[in-house]
Each structure stands twice: as structure tokens, then as C-alpha cells.
Subunit: 304 residues, 2 copies
């Protein structure tokens, strides 16, 4: 969606100056993958308005394919305002409750072909929008599954945009049953499974049919769990100063997918994912500092 | 509604920096009247969001009463993005099709008391929103009429936000039948009545029961028409350079209402209205340069 970042510090009610950019967990993952040299297509539904057009322009500038972008004739591109803070979480004001994406439908899914798709990445965020979007997303995932597409899911829990925590947990776990890989943060895993043990969280999803559970634990790195294998801890990279954690999880997802598409082991994929996450938290911005392949390799090399 | 003005020149798709302020024809009239020393209440329906809060804050800073402001729980405050141009009309992108005001209803009107209201000013813009808003506005005007409130109407034609020109003409002329004063521009009068003659435009509205028709004709000034009286031309003020015509009509309306509330003749009111219009076109901005009473008197004096 469109993002208007306050450039002045202060309450959103008082600040006057904003700088526009583009936001979205899936968009950050797309940019991460494109910078790493993969062929990426980003699908969402936007309005025929300058915010939507600017998103397409930005994606194109990042070499992301937008051929199957969906347009609403009646609804506008989602928009959010974000305050600027010296510390703590910024305040967010959404203009998304009637956005173009709220009209994403089964009909839209029918327009999407899976012929040349290797992998589909989704997050829990769009599942919160409304019942018909949810229905369309489940239809999309089933269609992908049927076509043999590999499915990765980042739960990306946003309790504030769901009707209830109960519903959030139910829907995301139902979606997980279609996923090949799930990437919960450890706190998310606890909310979703009721257990704070990494092994139990992993087992919950392995029992649902997920092939690989990669649990993120911040500085401790990631835990890779596969059926009938011991859970493996892949250590994180040491970061001197955390500047902005926004986009770190998305960078991590890009790293996992990069590893999968490159034929790496899950442990090696998690190492790359940790590295992108570590790079992300050292800079302000959701996706501006996602690394190219050369930059990523050099960063990992610097720790050897 | 909230307004995000691009601070960079260029297409809205490309510009990045915006400055927030507040926009609206009725709001400009309110500010004009408040600066001239009148007690003003501004009624609209906004969302419970930072844009809405900032509007209330701005109105309060302009000494405008917001006691009866209506809030939607489910819909956001209307918002518009406006491009910055070196010449010609700026591009506008609206976030208003699902704004809080689109839920303005008969129930909201029932909450509004007319006890201490002397004058109600409305424009044609909110009549374009949808059928239920329209119904609520007609109910409001009938309620005001019944309570003996004086009603002024600025057609403010915005063909692009109406379903059809035919509908726009029909609805605004129906509203005019409840008005005591109507303030059409000469081009608006032609669209609304089918005649380009100032006398015929005036007669059309006098026949509908309007007491005073004040037709605006830019540099030629205004034409005041009352039943059984000769139409009187009130000359405009000479302006060296027109910088920005936005808000001139709203300033004019504030001048007419100021004259009425001050007990001036309609010709004298039109002179004050012309003066505010002339001041408005010499500055950039919708309402920032609306004059105080002293400034307005001094400006008129400077031509004597």
C-alpha cells in the first residue's frame, strides 16, 4: 500500500510534512528477492489512482513483474500514515478499510495462472481483511498447491487488524496446513500454538503437514525443524546497534526463499535469512537497504 | 477534509513530499466568517483518526465551534492529494468515496438543533456524495427553514463528482428552492438554468422562491437581483496579478453572509464579498489569507 511517512517528529495529529513511499510485508520480500537476482511477480489489487500508479512504478524500478496486477474501478489503493518517533513504535493510521484490496475476489484469483510459478509466498496480513478476501486467498493457495507450487507462509501476526485473536489463530493455522514452509517468530508461535517451546511449536506445524518450520528468535537466530529430524539452531549475526526492526522478518523470509530457490540446505538458507535480517535492523526503512547478492555474500564473508 | 498538498512540482505519481492542511469550500467560508468576528459552527462527519482530529484542532484554532461535529466509528475522514503546478489546475486524487461523510444520515440530522442558528450556509458539493447524504441534507435544510433559519446556497458545481450533469442540475435547483440567497457564478448559472443572461438566471431562481440572487462575474463584479427590482451591478476590485483563484468564491460567500449578519444592503454586502474575493486571488492557499474585519475595511478604504 501507499505509505506517507511523517518527516517531522510528533503526534500524527500535529505533524504537517510527509514523504511518500511504498509499504507492505509481501512487497519487502519481493524487493529482497529481486535484488538477490530472482524473477519475482507481485500480485495485489490497487485502485486507478496516483498512489496505485506510484506503486507499480516503484515495483518496476525494482525489476519486479506487475503483469498480473489487479485494478479496482471503484476502490482506492490502500494508504497508511506513519508517525516519526525518536524511540518506540511509530503510530499508524490506516486508510485500508475500504481499499481496492478489500475487493480481491475469487474472480480475481481465476485470472491468475500458475503455469510458470515455482513458489508462492503469502503472509497472514491479507487474511485479516475480510471474509471474501480470505476465501479468495484460500482458493489461490489451493490452486497453487494443485499446480505443484511450493508455498511459504510468514504468519506476520497483526492482532489489531483482526476481529479477534481467536479468529486470527484459527485462520492462520488453517492456512498453514497448505504451506510447505512456515516462518513464525517465537512469540507468534506461542500465540498460534499455545506453546512457548520451539520443539512444540515446530511439532504443531509438522503435524499439520508443513514440511519445514523455521522459528525466528531474534539474536539467538533461527531454529530449523523438519519431520523426524532434530531441530537445528542456526545462530544469528551480531549487530552492534539495532536501529529499526521494521522489515527484518520480511528480509528473513526473502533469505529463506533465496536459499530454497538456490538449492541450499534449510540450515544454509536460515544463515542467509539471518544475515539479511541483521542487515535490515541496522538501517531505517522497510526495504531500501535490502542487499544485492554481492552485498549479502560480502556481509556473510566478513564474519568468517 | 484532510488535504495533502504536494510540495514538489510534478505529477502526483512521481512527487514524494506532501504538506498536510485542511480543505473544503464550507470550511473556507467558516474561516472567513470567523475572522470577520462572527460566531461560527462547522458541522461535518469525520472519522476517529489523526486526519479528523487535526481538522477539529485547526477549526478550534480558528475560533470555530465544533460542538456538533459528527464522528463515524467505521469510516475514515475524507482525504485528498493535490499536485503542485506552476500554472493551470492542480491534479487532485480523492480518498472520499468511502469517507466518514458518506455515512452522514437522517439520524445525524436529528441530532442537530436549530435553536440558536441564524443562518445556514451550504454548497452543492456534499449533495453529490450519495443518495442518503442528499436525503439527510434536504432534511437538514427543511428543518432549518421550519425554524426560520436564513439559508444561503453556493452551487459550487463540481461536475466530476456527480453521476451526471443532468442529476447535478436537478438536485441543486431543488435545493435552491429552499434557499433565501443563491450565489451562482455566471458559468454555473448557465449550466443550471440553460441561460447565459444574468437577468434570466436571476429570474429562474426568483421564480423558485429565492429572495436574492447574486451572480458572480469575476472582474466585472457581482449582480444583485431581487424580485420586482432592477438587477444591480456591484463592480469588482482591480487586481494587478491573479495568483490563485482557489477559495475566491468561498471568500465571496463569506462576504455576503458577513453583510447580511451586519445588516448591510445586498449591494453593500456584494461590495464586501467582491473585496474578499479580490484579496483571495492575490495569494496562494484556500483560506490562509482570508482577512480580518480590520484588514478588509482597510482594503476597501484603499480604493476610496
Amino acid at each position: 500500500m501507499g505509505l506517507l511517512n511523517a518527516t517531522d517528529y510528533g503526534d500524527l495529529v500535529d505533524v504537517e510534512n510527509f514523504k511518500r513511499s511504498v509499504a507492505g510485508a509481501e512487497l519487502n520480500v519481493s524487493i529482497g528477492l529481486s535484488r538477490l537476482g530472482h524473477t519475482v511477480e507481485y500480485v495485489t489489487k490497487i485502485g486507478k489512482d496516483p498512489i496505485g500508479e506510484s506503486i507499480v512504478k516503484y515495483l518496476t524500478s525494482e525489476n519486479i513483474n506487475t503483469e498480473h496486477m489487479l485494478f479496482s474501478e471503484s476502490h482506492k489503493t490502500g494508504l497508511m500514515l506513519k508517525s516519526r518517533v525518536k524511540q518506540g513504535d511509530p503510530a499508524i493510521a490506516y486508510y485500508r478499510s475500504h481499499s481496492a484490496f478489500t475487493t480481491f475476489s475469487l474472480e480475481d484469483v481465476n485470472q491468475l495462472e500458475m503455469d510458470s510459478v515455482k513458489l508462492l509466498h503469502i503472509t497472514g496480513i491479507p487474511l485479516a481483511i475480510n471474509t471474501s478476501v480470505r476465501e479468495a486467498l484460500f482458493s489461490l493457495v489451493k490452486k497453487a498447491k494443485k499446480a505443484g507450487v511450493f508455498i511459504t507462509l510468514d504468519p506476520n501476526l497483526r492482532p489489531s487488524i483482526w476481529e479477534s485473536e481467536e479468529q486470527m489463530v484459527k485462520v492462520i493455522n488453517e492456512m498453514a496446513s497448505y504451506a510447505d514452509v512456515i516462518l513464525p517468530g517465537i512469540a507468534e508461535g506461542e500465540i498460534l500454538t499455545g506453546s512457548s517451546s520451539i520443539e512444540d511449536i515446530a511439532q504443531f506445524y509438522l503435524d499439520l503437514g508443513v514440511k519445514v518450520v523455521i522459528t525466528k528468535s531474534g539474536e539467538a537466530g533461527a531454529y530449523v525443524s523438519e519431520i523426524n529430524k532434530e531441530t537445528e539452531n542456526v545462530k544469528g549475526f551480531k549487530v552492534e546497534q539495532v536501529i529499526d526492526t521494521v522489515g527484518a522478518g520480511d528480509g528473513f523470509a526473502a533469505g529463506i526463499i533465496h536459499g530454497y530457490l538456490s538449492g541450499y540446505s534449510w540450515a544454509k538458507s536460515a544463515k542467509y535469512a539471518n544475515a539479511i535480517g541483521a542487515l535490515q535492523v541496522q538501517y531505517v526503512g522497510d526495504n531500501q537497504n535490502l542487499p544485492t547478492k554481492d552485498k549479502l555474500e560480502a556481509y556473510i564473508e566478513s564474519f568468517n
